[in-house]
């Protein structure tokens, strides 16, 4: 005797993107915190030491935020004009920022007033950074020059005048105190050595360079400009490694995730894309409400901070990991003093006689009703289960099963207004889904047949029916359009295939049409 076979819920192919490890990782962030700044957020920099505050440069101010605070813990306001590029020193004690008024200011993180003011540039300074020996500052300016300054003496050490356009980005080496790279609107990247007077390497990016990034090993250099993100191998003399064109507007900022395995790029097209740094494929994508100007990741990816042109700062914090949660829960459990010998832990001995108990199989609620041939109740339970689990396939599978048993009409009939509107809501939600439409058309017709006599008695049901009608009309238009496109494609394919001469003996007609694509993936056309 076989037991009752439960309704099989088919697994439909997932529409949309595939769930990968990356998707799960990058989805594991809380809802973002949005903070309104005074102007477009041009730069964000995390302090390299705990508690990992970050400096947000926006308009004429630099705000310092704590890792969890939504209010700035400190504000630097002593700028005459728009501030640029507020950056921390590697010990987190000092902060440097450029300004539209060509003065470079150096702040103590604790103080409010600038410790040093470096004057010497003639135009706005967009690039400032500390060298890795912590005693010098690199600046790049719109006057096409970049300079090295000594902090203790606040004197200009060297000036490099090799770029032929604005210098808008630059980065210093963390391993070598003398090396730094600048990128300019003249499409070029230049690698400088402070021990020489000239650049040691020039790389052509092909577009005005907006952002630069050095890998932790400093063998690879990433540059962003135009729609491109390019990776260069510095050890091979600036050989291009890969060119990524995944944004459709200018890429403005770059960041690396915690262990350098993922590269993030933000763009004016309002997307942040995450690349795998071994395959350089996009593995994830974030959407933001406005064009992105700046992007930074906290150490260990604890938070993603994005600054946008509409002066909104968007902070996403990572959710606490499952492990942390589990340990926390474990600690909370009360200690147990009594030890029970649980039945399940009893191990039968060798010569024990085992009396097997029939295993009661667990059936879903709708299956229990189906087993008893209670068709209406089974449909009700399936509607509940489908909506609760957000899995319409459960309801669809039960409807299909009822149809197979020939009792679908009985199950649909005899419903009051509330039950009918629940059913109609489900129909509205799923009737035009290509996966369910073939099954759901039959019950939809049956509902209309059964309840046509009571149409007009309930405003709720009438409204839903009208909604359903408009949905169907729209769907028909879509299908018509799709068929047209399909027809066009067929002509294109047919004309692009080379005509083959068939060496046939029997009949002399030409080759038939061979379609080189899989129809399994072709959209199924349903005409309702």
């Amino acid at each position: 005797m076989a037991s009752y076979k439960p309704t099989k819920i088919p697994v439909y192919p997932k529409l949309g993107e595939k769930v990968t490890g990356d998707t799960l990782y990058w989805k594991n962030y809380k809802t973002p915190i949005q903070i309104k700044e005074f102007g477009a957020v041009s730069n964000i920099d995390f302090s390299p030491v705990a508690p990992y505050n970050f400096a947000v440069t926006a308009f004429t101010r630099i705000h310092l935020y704590g890792p969890l605070s939504q209010e700035p813990v400190k504000t630097y306001t002593r700028f005459k004009d728009t501030a640029y590029c507020g950056r921390f020193r590697s010990d987190g004690q000092l902060l440097v920022a450029g300004c539209e008024d060509s003065v470079v200011r150096l702040f103590d993180v604790g103080g409010k007033v600038a410790l040093r003011m470096f004057k010497g540039h003639t135009k706005a300074v967009h690039v400032t950074d500390f060298t890795s020996d912590r005693y010098q500052i690199l600046t790049g300016s719109d006057d096409y020059t970049c300079c090295l300054w000594d902090i203790p003496n606040s004197v200009k050490l060297n000036t490099y005048q090799e770029h032929t356009d604005y210098i808008r980005c630059g980065v210093t080496s963390k391993l070598n105190r003398d090396l730094f790279v600048t990128g300019s609107y003249d499409h070029s990247l230049k690698v400088f050595d402070a021990r020489t007077d000239k650049s040691v390497m020039t790389i052509n990016h092909g577009h005005p360079v907006e952002s630069l990034l050095l890998y932790p090993s400093e063998g690879l250099l990433v540059s962003a400009g135009g729609r491109y993100v390019r990776v260069w191998d510095l050890l091979k003399g600036g050989q291009p490694l890969v060119s990524l064109k995944n944004h459709h507007k200018t890429v403005t900022c770059l960041a690396l995730s915690k262990n350098g395995q993922r590269l993030l790029s933000g763009s004016l097209d309002r997307h942040v894309k995450v690349y795998n740094t071994t395959t350089y494929k996009v593995v994830h994508n974030f959407d933001y409400p406005a064009a992105i100007l700046s992007l930074a990741l906290a150490p260990k990816d604890k938070s993603i901070v994005v600054g946008m042109t509409n002066s909104i700062l968007n902070i996403k914090h990572q959710k606490p990991s499952e492990k942390a949660k589990a340990t926390a829960g474990h600690a909370r459990r009360r200690p147990s003093y009594r030890v029970y010998s649980h039945r399940k832990r009893y191990n039968p001995k060798l010569d024990d006689y085992l009396v097997s108990k029939p295993v009661r199989e667990h059936l879903a609620k709708y299956d229990k009703q189906l087993k008893k041939f209670n068709v209406s109740k089974a449909l009700d339970r399936a509607l509940e289960a489908g909506t609760k689990a957000r899995k319409p396939e459960i309801t669809v599978a039960v409807i299909k099963e009822l149809d197979r048993r020939g009792t679908l009409k009985n199950a649909l009939a005899g419903r009051d207004e509330q039950e009918l509107s629940q059913l109609l809501r489900f129909m509205i939600g799923n009737l035009i889904d290509a996966r369910f439409a073939p099954v759901l058309i039959t019950p939809a017709e049956m509902i209309l047949d059964i309840y046509q006599s009571v149409i007009g008695q309930s405003p709720v049901v009438d409204k839903q029916l009208l909604h359903l009608q408009s949905l169907l009309e729209r769907e028909l238009d879509y299908q018509k359009d799709l068929l047209e496109v399909l027809g066009m494609l067929d002509t294109l394919f047919a004309s692009s295939l080379p005509k083959m001469e068939v060496p046939c003996s029997g009949i002399s007609t030409s080759n038939g049409l061979t379609l080189g694509e899989s129809t399994a993936s072709r959209p199924q056309v349903q005409v309702t």
């Binding site: 197979r404 060496p503 007609t509 038939g512 129809t519």
Partner: protein, 839 residues
């Protein structure tokens, strides 16, 4: 034409076991059921077939335990005989010749020596009228007895044996006609009839379907077309009868049975639920649901320990009285049609075809046993007539048996056709097929053919399906496009091909799988699966291609096609030209996977002929005219386990494989060579040791019995083995010891003889010991001597001398010395026999 003298068509297993109600032995150890032309005895605990009681020459229509001897059973058949069997040993005891086709048999303990049978009222015409006839079985020692004392009891009864039943202690017999219940009381010699209206108020049909009587009370239970059960009481008066109604079944009740004590009533119908009603407390019911196919018969063992139900899917379920299934005896399920072709599972070498609804059955041809059913549809089966169910319509195995592709469909109407293609992978750990991929709606119309390439290394990664929607699709085994390590391989569509919007009907891979031939009506297109290019088209109009087949081994360059315009074409693919054409109306073309041979079933003048040939020469190796009437549509070559080494040209094609086919009447038939048949016969007979012993006094004593057996044509076959010469002296002891003790004369009679025989045999003691060892084997054979026969033997000792003399003449191998001894014995013989006679 080649003569086919030594190749014969034989039935091969898979007979019906659910035709009539099975009988359970009194100790519930054995189950007897009618199966085609024989009666099968099954063990209820091991489900194995113990004996096949063979002897009837037509369909067996009933099996019944003999009420007076529970170790014997009657069986009746359409050949007009009733046979009495000792079913524990599988020995025929007696044959009663009635002379009319018998449709059912009844007996009651009260009516000693009388059986009741259902025979047609008019023997000459195939009339629909039947009568119940009482037959007095003559008391005779003969093997073949003609029963002439017939007396009609009831006329115009139903031919369905379930519609007639004996009442309490055999006092009356009840028979149900469509709308009439007739009760015949033996004592009063009177019958009463009770009528029902054709339809009741609610529109249910009142037609009787089955009937049974309470064993201890005057109560008749009747089942009806509308699912009602009526319990009739007080029916020994014409007017004052009453009945109560029970209703649970939603469609016709097909079988009813009371338990021996009468405490419970069992009923079953198309719902496949065994319902147990408490007698007098009918609101209490026990159910045993989901037994399989519709219940056709229920029977109860005389001790009430076991029930068994026969099902429409050729199955007998044995149920313990605590309503728990204890065993299932499953025959080959043939249902109403074989939708899938016959296939051979390359792993288990089992025959595979669709069986139970939504299942594929694996049937072992060697053991004639159903191995298992594979659930393809995996849905709850709703037992309701008129409901469109999912059916397995197509299945294919790959060459290594590691993949199985199945197609299931529901609803014949084109608009609402539900199709799904499932691919099953063989799981070595579970030793079963596990669902790998389900493709719902693989095509827009019915699938006409499925085909795996023949890959030798077993790594199949392709499947081709053709459909009425005008496309053929190639399915490829591959990892999903988005690489995920945890997800295994699955099948997806690789290529869709079409040709001039014609409908593809058949597809076939060449032996090395480098070519795929797809037939589009009258055109054969040849494709290369490597790049999916159309290589060539072949055609021989007019007439669409009906079947398509590539040659194998040395003939793999040939492609054969059978067309509807009665042509069999053979193309050479190297030259792309027609090699030969013959005019044959081939309905089925099959290639032997192990040789170059091909079998073509041709439909000619209402019957099917078989031609076996090699594609390289258009001359048949073997032909067989008129295999069976009608078209053969299903056939398969099954590889043999042991190769035959026949060098005869006409039977050589059977060396590596055996050809099985299904006749239109759903009989599984096969071909057997003379040599094979002899070998099978010999192996059967090894168990039966010869009785042909040399002359001894005991032989003389038993001479009558021997003679009688030799007269019996049934026994001839089992005794026709060449005699094994045995020493005469030891045979005496042998005979003595293997005789059942209760049929021997008293020990005082035998003592002197026994001692004497021992004295003589002293010279050859080793031989006697050797024979003692054989005794156990032989005793089995000798148990057929029932009391009745023994009595007759002893009561007529005067025949003995003549019988003995005959046998002496018939034994030429006696030596002089032995003859002398025998003479001495004879003298002695007469003396003690005289004494016996005087008494």
């Amino acid at each position: 034409m080649v003569e086919h003298g030594d190749v014969r068509v034989v039935h091969k297993g898979g007979s019906k076991i659910n035709f009539r109600e099975p009988a359970l032995s009194i100790d519930s150890r054995f189950l007897l059921c009618a199966s085609g032309e024989c009666v099968k005895v099954f063990s209820t605990s091991t489900e194995e077939c113990l004996h096949e009681l063979q002897g009837h020459t037509d369909l067996v229509t009933g099996v019944l335990l003999r009420p007076s001897n529970h170790l014997q059973a009657y069986s009746c058949s359409l050949d007009g005989t009733v046979r009495l069997w000792d079913f524990t040993d599988g020995i025929p005891i007696r044959t009663y010749v009635i002379g009319y086709p018998i449709h059912g048999i009844y007996a009651s303990a009260k009516h000693e020596g009388v059986i009741f049978i259902i025979t047609p009222m008019h023997t000459d015409t195939n009339s629909e009228l039947f009568q119940l006839v009482a037959v007095h079985l003559p008391q005779s020692g003969e093997q073949l007895v003609e029963a002439r004392e017939l007396s009609a009891v009831l006329s115009n009864v139903s031919s369905n044996p379930a519609a007639t039943a004996f009442g309490r202690e055999g006092q009356y017999i009840v028979s149900a006609k469509p709308l009439e219940l007739e009760v015949y009381f033996f004592k009063k010699q009177k019958s009463y009839s009770f009528y029902l209206k054709k339809d009741n108020q609610k529109g249910g049909k009142n037609t009787f379907t089955c009937i049974t009587c309470h064993p201890t009370e005057d109560c008749i239970a009747s089942g009806h077309e509308d699912g009602k059960i009526r319990l009739w009481r007080n029916f020994n008066h014409k007017k004052e009868y009453t009945y109560s109604t029970l209703h649970w079944h939603h469609s016709a009740v097909s079988s009813l049975r009371f338990t021996p004590e009468g405490t419970n009533l069992l009923s079953g119908g198309v719902e496949s639920v065994l319902v147990q009603w408490r007698y007098n407390q009918e609101s209490q019911r026990d159910f045993l649901p989901r037994l399989g196919g519709a219940i056709t018969h229920i029977s109860v063992s005389p001790d009430g320990a076991l029930f068994c139900t026969s099902h429409s899917d050729n199955k007998i379920t044995i149920i313990q009285s605590c309503v728990k299934v204890s065993a299932v005896i499953q025959g080959l399920v043939k249902g109403d049609g074989i939708r899938t072709d016959l296939m051979i599972d390359p792993r288990s070498k089992a025959l595979v075809l669709n069986g139970k609804p939504g299942h594929l059955q694996f049937y072992s041809l060697q053991r004639d046993k159903l191995l298992f059913n594979l659930d393809i549809v995996q849905q709850e089966y709703i037992h309701e007539s008129g409901l469109q169910q999912f059916e397995v319509v197509m299945a294919a195995f790959d060459a290594g048996g590691s993949w199985l592709a199945t197609v299931e469909e529901r609803k014949q109407k084109d608009a609402e056709l539900e199709l799904s293609l499932k691919l099953w992978a063989f799981d070595d750990r579970r030793q079963s097929f596990v669902l790998n991929t389900t493709i719902s709606a693989p095509h827009e119309a019915q699938i006409t053919a499925l085909c795996f390439p023949h890959v030798s290394d077993g790594q199949t990664t392709m499947l081709v399906s053709t459909s009425r929607d005008g496309h053929f699709k190639a399915w490829q085994l591959a990892a999903p496009a988005h690489t995920e390590a945890d997800k295994g391989l699955s099948w997806s569509c690789d290529f869709v091909g079409a040709y001039h919007s014609l409908v593809p009907e058949r597809c076939c891979f060449s032996a090395d799988s480098s070519l795929l031939a797809v037939s589009f009506q009258e055109v054969v297109t040849v494709w290369t699966p490597a790049s999916w290019e159309l290589l060539t088209t072949l055609s021989q109009p007019p007439g669409a291609i009906r079947d398509l087949c590539f040659g194998r081994l040395s003939c793999s360059k040939y492609l054969l096609a059978a067309t509807t315009s009665k042509l069999l074409c053979c193309w050479n693919l190297l030259t792309c030209s027609l090699e030969w054409v013959t005019s044959m109306d081939v309905s089925l073309l099959r290639a032997d996977p192990l040789s170059e041979n091909m079998a073509a079933f041709c439909f000619e003048a209402g019957s099917t002929d078989l031609f076996v040939f090699k594609p390289c020469e258009p001359r048949p190796l073997f032909s067989h005219k008129a295999l069976c009437s009608g078209r053969v549509t299903h056939a398969v070559f099954a590889p043999r386990e042991v190769m035959l080494e026949s060098c005869d040209e006409s039977s050589q094609w059977l060396n590596s494989s055996q050809l099985f086919f299904l006749s239109p009447s759903m009989d599984l038939l096969t071909f057997i060579t003379k040599a094979e048949e002899d070998r099978l016969m010999a192996s059967n007979k090894q168990l039966v040791v010869s009785d042909d012993v040399a002359m001894t006094p005991f032989h003389l004593l038993l001479g009558k019995h021997q003679k009688q057996q030799q007269d019996n044509p049934q026994q001839e076959s089992s005794q026709s083995v060449e005699p094994i010469p045995q020493p005469s002296s030891s045979a005496g002891i042998n005979e003595l010891l293997q005789m059942p003790a209760h049929v021997l004369p008293s020990a005082s009679f035998l003592c002197s003889m026994f001692v004497q025989s021992l004295l003589i045999s002293v010279k050859d003691p080793s031989a006697s010991e050797q024979n003692k060892e054989e005794e156990e084997m032989e005793s089995e054979k000798e148990e057929e001597d029932s009391d009745g026969e023994m009595e007759s033997r002893i009561s007529r000792p005067e025949h003995m001398p003549s019988g003995g003399q005959e046998s002496v003449c018939a034994a030429p191998t006696l030596t002089k010395e032995e003859a002398r001894k025998l003479r001495r014995l004879k003298k002695l013989d007469h003396s003690w026999m005289k004494g016996l006679l005087d008494k």
